[in-house]
Subunit: 425 residues, 2 copies
Amino acid sequence: MAADGFRPLNEKLLVEYIKATPSLSFKLGVGEESADFVIKEVGDGNLNFVYIVIGSSGSIVVKQALPYVRCIGESFPMTKERAYFEALTLKEHGRLCPGHVPEVYHFDRPMSLIAMRYLEPPHIILRKGFIAGVEYPLLAEHISDYMAKTLFYTSLLFRGTTEHKQSVAEFCGNLGLCRLNEQFVFSDPFKVSHFNRWTSPYLDDDAKSVREDDALKLEVAGLKTMFIERAQALIHGDLHTGSVMVTSNSTQVIDPEFSFMGPMGYDIGAFIGNLFLAYFSQDGHADQENDRESYKTWILKTAENTWNLFNVKFTKLWHENKDGSGEAYLPEVYNNSELLLQTQKKYMKDLFHDSLGFGATKMIRRIVGLAHVEDFESIKDDKRRAYCEHRALEFAKMLLKERHQFHTIDEVVSAALEVPGKTFW
Amino acid sequence: MAADGFRPLNEKLLVEYIKATPSLSFKLGVGEESADFVIKEVGDGNLNFVYIVIGSSGSIVVKQALPYVRCIGESFPMTKERAYFEALTLKEHGRLCPGHVPEVYHFDRPMSLIAMRYLEPPHIILRKGFIAGVEYPLLAEHISDYMAKTLFYTSLLFRGTTEHKQSVAEFCGNLGLCRLNEQFVFSDPFKVSHFNRWTSPYLDDDAKSVREDDALKLEVAGLKTMFIERAQALIHGDLHTGSVMVTSNSTQVIDPEFSFMGPMGYDIGAFIGNLFLAYFSQDGHADQENDRESYKTWILKTAENTWNLFNVKFTKLWHENKDGSGEAYLPEVYNNSELLLQTQKKYMKDLFHDSLGFGATKMIRRIVGLAHVEDFESIKDDKRRAYCEHRALEFAKMLLKERHQFHTIDEVVSAALEVPGKTFW
Ligand SMILES: Nc1ncnc2c1ncn2[C@@H]1O[C@H](COP(=O)(O)OP(=O)(O)O)[C@@H](O)[C@H]1O
Ligand SMILES: Nc1ncnc2c1ncn2[C@@H]1O[C@H](COP(=O)(O)OP(=O)(O)O)[C@@H](O)[C@H]1O
Ligand SMILES: [Mg+2]
Ligand SMILES: [Mg+2]
Ligand SMILES: [Mg+2]
Ligand SMILES: [Mg+2]
Ligand SMILES: [Mg+2]
């Protein structure tokens, strides 16, 4: 064990850890002597180690952060304090939206270790559901609920500035993870970087076009600055479809280790942008049994519903709390319903455009940057994958540059339908 | 002395304090025994106590924060930790722009006490110079220098995000002072508040018009949110003409106790807005000897020069440091001069509009809010004062609502010339 109390675990050491931690052994139903529980490492994410532990009377998931980025290796150090911020946000978002966040059972800061509810089968990662072509009728309803509650209640629309600044100061500590996003989302894809990769040689021109598109880079400038400067709410910070686990009637958001006080549009955009990635990847998964056409329609409908339901729910929370403790818009100033309506419309319009901008940026980085998504990666044929990725990229570039022209999410969806194809075969 | 080491001083106790503080007695040229120095309390500001101390071989100014707001009284508690943030910013801004910030000799945190350079006569508060009708030919040159350097070097255009987030976290501690601005600049003037006052009965309708102008309040909403959420640079936070001391060839910025990581436009707007207040007050100071017409022209020219010089200097610093450590716009991304130019133009355009918005808001609060300015207060005749204040208010309201229509500061100045008068006699 290091002087700071940290010890990287493996299956064997985790057994010892659990035995020495009464609250966990109790949960699993094991005594000090017996070892009647099974452990499996399942981390398929980019950064950390995740163990499923199943005992005789219960189960847990144990997640540990190591002091480097797993998918790159020990050559890329990364503070393990990220586990502290993940635990903090899991608890805060869980308090605000218990239906869609797994419960935290135990947090050990020196060990950078979180024990939480095991999201048991048939829960799977949403992205895998999209690849398999599974519809989740409640997804938009649930995720809009999660976003509306977590973002509203941690913003100045609900909080006073004292609580706000305390959160801002605290989450400044999660700098290392913020810097990862700054680099891999907002910078590397737009310049030559040995971290970048793409489906070569087919997308060589596409990658180059991103690096040489001045209008695009002008827009990214504003978004990157907003990402760093603007403390609007406690955002998840990594809300792609790989951070959501689902069944037909459950939607659970995991992995908020990138969380900080940032712009709301970054979360909303991450989710909707990843829906569009799923949409554009479908042509790569279509086969003779399933042309995926109706599934594509469902995905787009889900994107539409996600924004529209979010808009309704967020605004409803605002109305319900307009005379509350929020210090942005005092009721004595915003004292008539027409003015409040105008204020809300302006706020939601700006948030819509922020979301489109961040969403498009996150789409781009998944195609020409470091970390790609399984939606495309699982398309074995390079040319077919290139076809899908090219369309997604064209759409994202257009959206980033033209986002202020869009007034409703329906218009965005219509634009997605009209992206021309380019065949590489 | 309180348990925290704090003791409110008066002239007599300050003598003891100085004798017990070698660095200060040395500076003043006094031994432990002698008391050959004179002390005078000169605090004319709103919050603190300021003593001028003149010894046989030197002089200092000693400023102490008490745990309440001086101009309201002990009924309005305010953390004396503000002195800590004032000292921090005096030192940081002083390092970045030593020519326009008084040197800090000594800081005592438990005592909330700062000893700094005495800005000796003929230094006077700029606002008093404006009332007397004195021209300062170097003012725009100097203040634009101060703003360009302090804002540029503490922004992401020069700093990396690590240093940026450290500052953000640290200055979240200056919450109490930020909250004062939130209330007295962005909220109270736009609602019924017993803190508000104005030249009654003449401006009763004007005050009411501010409280009932929905379009105005819609704009204020965005600015207030930006003030709280956006950590763009280490701003002074109270850069009105009462925080600047001048002679014909010296310009010194004092009193940054409201400083925090906030939007740059708040400082630029504060200064330019106060120039406009000075301008509109001149009709109240005109007499048979001096119609103040040429002086008014000089003030407006100074407003123009201030923004234009700031724009040039800030952009120059950006160019000089474009390959430096700033992490907002990486040189590998913003890699051609046309793109860099576009990015800068967009940045400066937004900053211009932010400055106009904040400047106008600060003008409004000085006419219908709690703290008024001597420019108007010193106009003894109520009707004449109301005439001046009414025009300033009309201009500010227009500017706040229409600011995005203005492309250059010259256009703003032209608009100031055209504000119609309303006579109350
Ligand atoms: N609470 C949980 N219940 C079930 N599986 C989980 C849970 N948390 C994580 N997992 C599994 O572990 C994987 C990685 O977890 P994640 O928190 O995303 O780690 P990383 O930060 O490395 O991306 C997830 O994709 C999921 O398959
Ligand atoms: N360094 C200085 N040299 C000379 N006079 C000063 C100095 N600092 C403050 N003063 C005088 O004291 C007054 C109040 O100081 P200030 O720092 O503005 O206090 P407050 O925070 O209470 O507004 C100023 O208006 C000025 O007249
Ligand atoms: Mg993950
Ligand atoms: Mg993760
Ligand atoms: Mg002052
Ligand atoms: Mg002050
Ligand atoms: Mg007055």
